[in-house]
Symmetry: C2
Subunit: 143 residues, 2 copies
């Protein structure tokens, strides 16, 4: 495989929420109580089958406003800590800015999934949704 | 945002391991002791700065052999459990087959990251690497 290979992805949905700029976004889903609604696009509605309030949903989002040209950052913007390679951080700035967040589902209605724990901005493309891995026992979550 | 928008991604690396077919792959990283080596492509070497043995690395991999046209699956192939929407499972089959795995780093040398917990096949493109979220306290892991 060459490093020139490219992959084309079409988002399966979009996040709608009150967070309008990256500066307003919580640093991480584990520090967020923000509400949002994932609107799933029509071709993918069937993939929501079985989704219910109370579930933890892993969301992969494309951080469309993030810089992709930075390979080192100051973690959490703290210059006293020195530059670190982005692969050792959760910085939104990275060559392929795909965020991995865990949201809690509060309501499912039609193509809309209401969630809490939002750490991305309004209009962020959603690339994938999946169930969380349960570490306490194989089989309680599903491949 | 329209559902016709597409995003172009260039992999940052590739997985090298002894798992040669999807059928040989463990169901999930949490059930895997398999070894592998992530080869990071030259343009992204600087992003590895600070990466060390013992760290947990979240890897986003593009499951290049997965079917993208299935929206419902039998979880873990068990037909007795009924079909479920892929967004409520960890099935590799989904519209955008991006796997989220947590690997343990055992060695870092040049552009090579040796890891355990591999659940993807040899040749799988790696889209992103990031640190794990520590749930026990903000700040111990970094945005």
């Amino acid at each position: 495989m060459s490093d020139k290979q490219t992959i084309t992805i079409t988002p399966v949905g979009v996040m709608r929420c009150a967070i309008k700029t990256p500066g307003q976004a919580p640093m991480n889903y584990s520090e967020s109580q923000a509400l949002g609604t994932i609107e799933v696009f029509a071709p993918y509605l069937e993939a929501m089958s079985g989704l219910e309030a109370g579930q933890t949903l892993v969301a992969l989002c494309w951080l469309h406003e993030a810089r992709r040209d930075l390979l080192k950052v100051y973690p959490r913007g703290d210059r006293s800590r020195g530059l670190r390679g982005v692969f050792t951080t959760r910085s939104p700035m990275r060559p392929n800015p795909i965020a991995v967040s865990e949201f809690t589902v509060t309501k499912v209605e039609g193509n809309r999934i209401e969630v809490t724990g939002v750490d991305v901005i309004d209009g962020t493309p959603v690339l994938d949704l999946k169930s969380a891995v349960c570490k306490s026992g194989a089989g309680s979550r599903d491949r």
